[in-house]
């Protein structure tokens, strides 16, 4: 050990004044610093790629590039600095040791970046990295010194030798710290923070080198001494510097390109993920399918709308999922279509969908957007029904107002017609034509009076004479009257449950309603053999039943039905039977007010009328009348 020390380090016996005097070319010194700083900048640039590499393999590649560019830079700096030495003897380089020196620079840089780039980010890593880099630079420098082939002995000042390594370690630590800290210096542009790191790192390498040079003494070997340089060192230095710049520039370019590629990739992934999020959260089903109708992709909304799991959507044919019209939609692209899809509970969902085509991977594909419009459709239907009811109500109301006015005028006109006829009849002999004619006038004026009365009933301006009545006796009485006035070809049958509770109504009204329905039934059977069945029984309304009659409250009702075996009605006729003045009877046979009045009376008492009929299958009218107990228990008659 002491032998090695004595061989390489200055001892007491070595006179300092005999060493060869040398100086540095200041331009090449400056160049060496610039090379070191530029190489450091390059390394830092590449280091950023190393930090953001997507996997270990890519990170290893960037570690090698960063280490190589840094190591090359450090080595170049050192080599240029050595070429800057102006010494009056011939200097040559041992290729093996020079290469070893370069190896130290590159490997130390690589290891240092490995520690600095670890995600744990401990001070320990930084210190180890700096120590390795500093020692590595020292090794590179002094191995480079040993590679010198010249007629001189080299000795090192031990103190300055140690200081040079310390300087290398300290500045390496500073540079690596700056390198890490750049992440936190977000207020600074990346370029500026990297430049600061590079300048510090360049300083570390350069200061180490020149401290090392101050630790180096050259003593001439007597007998081998030659003067003058063997080659143009400036040219060599510029060449090495240029090569280093080129290598560094390529590394920077690679890093820049990689950064751009990474940004593009990140944007692509973000964009894909964003689009997928939109599709997954869409309220509409978004399906894609191929030319063979087979569904390729689906989204969660599709599972909800089609009421089935994704495994029963993807791979299925879209025309089995929606309907055959999908094929039409594939021809008439971008056209909104309506459809129905079945749910597992037996119900259906109303949908609107459109199909568009696209090219994907060289294939023609289709996308189908399906919207669930079940609620909207229901609301529309409800609105239509309500509008129809409103129109009907308005029609009835205006008719009521009109009827009231007309009735008053008519009644005033009927007073002289019937009254004066009555007076005239008193004076005309009974067996004359005049008497018969006047009698006809009187009869018709009474019919007219009845019509006016009906109109007034319809307008509900008459006293209904409402009392609590038991329906059964009224119905039985009506049935008796009906039997007496109905042709023998028509069988009148009664099915009366006497336990049916009392209702609040006018007896005359119930009588009028029954006679009216029976008259219609008789008219429907007219000329044929048939049957009219009048039935009365209690009926319980639950909430499900209520759906048929929005106006009815749940509870017990008296159900009064009149069924005939007549010719029945078609749907169009059924839709109009409650309209005032709508009649299927010949002129003079019906006023068209009977069922309108019936409907008015029933609904005014909180009841409802239901009709069931079909051509050739007869007609059934069901009248639901609320029981008195349900209205006001105190008024109910036992």
């Amino acid at each position: 050990m002491s032998q090695i020390f004595n061989r390489w380090f200055l001892g007491d016996g070595i006179p300092l004044d005999l060493c060869i005097d040398y100086h540095h070319d200041k331009w090449l010194v400056a160049l060496s610093y610039v090379v070191a700083a530029f190489a450091s900048y390059t390394a830092f640039h590449v280091f950023a790629r190393l930090r953001s590499g997507p996997n270990a393999r890519v990170r290893s590649i960037w570690l090698v590039i960063a280490g190589t560019s840094m190591g090359c830079g450090v080595f170049s700096m050192h080599f240029i600095a050595m070429l800057a030495v102006r010494i009056p003897i011939e200097v040559q380089y041992d290729p093996g040791l020079t290469a070893l020196s370069a190896f130290f620079a590159v490997s130390a840089s690589g290891i240092a970046f490995h520690f600095a780039g670890r995600s744990a980010r401990s001070k320990y890593d930084l210190f180890v990295g700096a120590l390795i880099l500093g020692v590595g630079i020292g090794l590179m420098h002094y191995t480079g010194d040993l590679a010198l082939r010249m007629p001189a002995h080299i000795y090192f000042d031990p103190a300055l030798f140690g200081l040079s390594v310390l300087v290398a370690v300290a500045f390496s630590f500073g540079a690596l710290w700056v390198l890490r800290a750049t992440d936190k210096w977000r207020h600074l542009p990346r370029f500026r923070s990297r430049l600061i790191g590079a300048l510090v790192m360049g300083l570390a390498v350069t200061l180490m080198h020149y401290t090392g040079m101050y630790a180096t003494y050259f003593y001439p070997e007597i007998g081998r001494l030659q003067t003058g340089a063997a080659f143009n060192s400036t040219l060599m230095a510029v060449a090495v510097g240029t090569a280093t710049f080129l290598i560094s520039s390529i590394a920077i370019l690679a890093a820049l390109l990689d950064r751009r590629a990474e940004i593009a990739e990140v944007r692509r992934i973000q964009s894909e993920s964003f689009l997928q999020t939109i599709i997954d959260n869409s309220a509409d089903a978004i399906l894609t399918f191929d030319e063979k109708f087979v569904i390729q992709t689906s989204n969660p909304a599709a599972c909800r709308i089609f009421d089935r799991g994704p495994e029963h959507i993807v791979g299925e044919r879209i025309d089995t999922l929606i309907d055959k019209n999908v094929a039409l939609a594939m021809i008439e692209l971008n056209t909104l279509r309506r459809g129905e899809v079945s749910r597992r509970d037996g119900g259906t969902n109303s949908i609107e969908y459109s199909v568009n085509d696209m090219r994907f991977g060289g294939r023609r594909m289709f996308n189908c957007v399906v919207r669930d419009v079940t609620e909207r459709r229901r609301a529309e239907e409800e609105k239509t029904t309500l509008e129809a009811k409103l129109r009907q109500a308005q029609k009835l109301e205006s008719l009521g107002t009109l009827a009231g006015g007309i009735a008053h005028e008519f009644n005033n006109m009927l007073v002289p017609i019937s009254g004066l006829t009555e007076l005239a009849l008193r004076e005309v002999p009974k067996d004359t034509r005049a008497y018969r004619n006047l009698n006809a006038v009187l009869t018709n004026s009474r019919r007219a009076a009845q019509l006016v009365q009906q109109i007034l009933s319809f307008a509900r301006q008459e006293d209904n004479g409402d009392t609590t009545i038991a329906l059964a006796p009224v119905v039985e009485e009506a049935v008796e009257l009906l039997r007496a006035t109905t042709p023998a070809t028509i069988n009148v049958r009664a099915d009366i449950d006497r336990a049916t509770g009392p209702i609040v109504a006018g007896e005359t009204q119930i009588h009028q309603i029954l006679m009216n329905l029976a008259s219609n039934a008789r008219h429907a059977i007219e000329g044929k053999v048939g049957e009219i069945v009048i039935s009365l029984k209690p009926a319980e309304f639950d909430r499900g039943f209520e759906g048929r009659f929005a106006s009815l409250k749940p509870g017990t009702y008296a159900k009064l039905s009149v069924r005939d075996t007549g010719h029945g009605m078609d749907t169009a006729t059924m839709g109009r039977i409650f309209e005032p003045f709508f009649t299927t009877k010949n002129v003079g046979k019906g006023t068209g007010l009977g069922l309108a009045v019936l409907h008015g009376i029933v609904t005014a008492h909180g009841g409802a009328v239901e009709v069931e009929s079909a051509p050739g299958l007869g007609t059934t009218f069901d009248i639901y009348w609320p029981l008195a107990a349900a209205i006001e228990p105190a008024r109910a008659v036992a």
Partner: protein, 121 residues
Amino acid sequence: MARILIIDDEEYVRMTLSQAMEDEGHTVLLATNGRDGLEIYKNAAPDLVITDVLMPEKEGIETIIELRKLNSAIKIIVISGGGRLNNIDFLEVARKFGASAALKKPFPIDDLCRAVADCLN
């Protein structure tokens, strides 16, 4: 026989009622509205008044009220064609204001004669 005041704005109603009453042997006074009717009543003091309800100038209910002010024991028969105004039963109202009888137009002449006879007895 009695003197009967008939108040009605319809000419043929007045004509019918006056013939019917004259046939019964009564003396008939005629007015076309409540205001004229009241004037005639003040001057002639008839035994019975037959009045319509819906009339111009002065309608029937008001006429009844004023007639009863003039003579609280007055006999009045009210006749009405109904309708025109929503859900108001004028005959019922008239009864409450003191009409002795109420008839809905059109009515058989015999019904009127019976009502008149009842009032006069």
